[in-house]
Amino acid sequence: MAGKKKLVLDTSWCKGCGICVAFCPKNALELVEERVHLKPDNECVLCGLCEMRCPDYAIWLEDLEE
């Protein structure tokens, strides 16, 4: 069953390549001190493109626990 998802980041795995930031269709991500962050005011639609494109597995969608 497709439940609700949330975006999870592990900045300790991020190498700051900027791929997710550049290709996020909602421009929801930014690099802060060379590490990915979700912008405070963001319109993330949980599409998961960042998870697909991140070469370092530092960002992904996870099922939201009920």
Binding site: W13, C17, G18, P55, W60, E62
Partner: protein, 282 residues
């Protein structure tokens, strides 16, 4: 803890990996994991993870065999396909997947490539094709485009590059395809088709090496290199809808060749049975 996928299919105690920021290898390695996962979950295939063997040679890309949590073997430079051939021969029921660099498989390993293709060995070869020798610091490889620079071609390479998929097809591979780091979904599907195909299959995945190839050739960083793939590599449906003029200079992302021919270990098995029957009848 990383995502479920990474946790399930990678040796997370070896992660984060050592590849450079923006290197395409991490994306291709994930594509392979997703392809395997989807084939495990596919009721028509029910791929058994215990039967999957990942074989690699030497190079930045070949480190993938060390990161992936399967029966895996990290072999010597250029010899991944030779080791894989031995594994497949010993246990034909195994699903043997070779992860290899453009140098590993088409320079030092070029002979193994063409002869495994010629025999139609039941292997799936996934190239991490970044147009350069990454691990040793940026020497040109057989896929470096003519005119492009490398430490061993400071004024531009004179050599005509190989198209690895075309080379494999010409040598007898029965499934060849082209993927890219940008085209994630398409590449996963092509790897799945390659694994399901009985016979020699090769998916030539265009990677990006921002550190050496990119820097030497002023291609920008990883983002610009992926934009190039987005703009110049075209998935099947769109590609075939294009006019000849529109296709000029564009590369198809999809299946390139697909044919049927007896798979080698099957033929070998038949040969053994035939000879045994002949011997018994003597």
């Amino acid at each position: 803890m990383p995502s479920e996928l990474i946790h399930e299919f990678m040796r997370i105690d070896h992660l984060p990996h050592i590849w450079c920021p923006g290197c395409g290898n991490g994306v291709i390695m994930r594509d392979v994991a997703v392809a395997i996962q989807e084939l495990m979950d596919d009721p028509e295939v029910k791929l058994n993870r215990e039967k999957v063997v990942i074989v690699s040679g030497i190079g930045c890309s070949s480190r993938a065999a060390g990161y992936m949590d399967f029966n895996s073997i990290h072999t010597t430079h250029g010899r991944a396909i030779a080791f894989a051939t031995g594994i497949k021969f010993a246990k034909p029921e195994l699903e043997v997947i070779v992860l290899t660099g453009d140098g590993d498989c088409s320079a030092i390993g070029g002979n193994h490539l063409i002869h495994a293709a010629r025999r139609n060995m039941g292997l799936t070869v996934v190239t991490f094709n970044n147009d350069i020798y990454g691990m040793t610091g940026g020497q040109y490889s057989p896929t470096t485009p003519a005119g492009d620079k490398a430490t061993t071609a400071p004024y531009g390479s004179l050599d005509r590059p190989f198209d690895i998929a075309q080379l494999a097809a010409g040598a007898g591979a029965t499934f060849t395809a082209r993927g890219s780091v940008y085209h994630v979904r398409e590449t996963i599907d092509l790897i799945k088709q390659g694994i399901r195909h009985k016979g020699f299959s090769l998916i030539d995945v265009y990677s990006v090496c921002p550190t050496y190839y990119g820097r030497k050739n002023h291609k920008g960083g990883p983002v610009e290199m992926l934009r190039w793939q987005k703009e110049n590599m075209v998935p099947t449906a769109r590609y075939y809808a294009m006019s000849e003029e529109q296709k000029a200079g564009k590369l198809l992302v999809g299946t390139l060749t697909h044919s049927e021919y007896p798979e080698y270990t099957d033929e070998y098995d038949k040969l053994v049975k035939r000879v045994q029957a002949e011997m018994a009848g003597r």
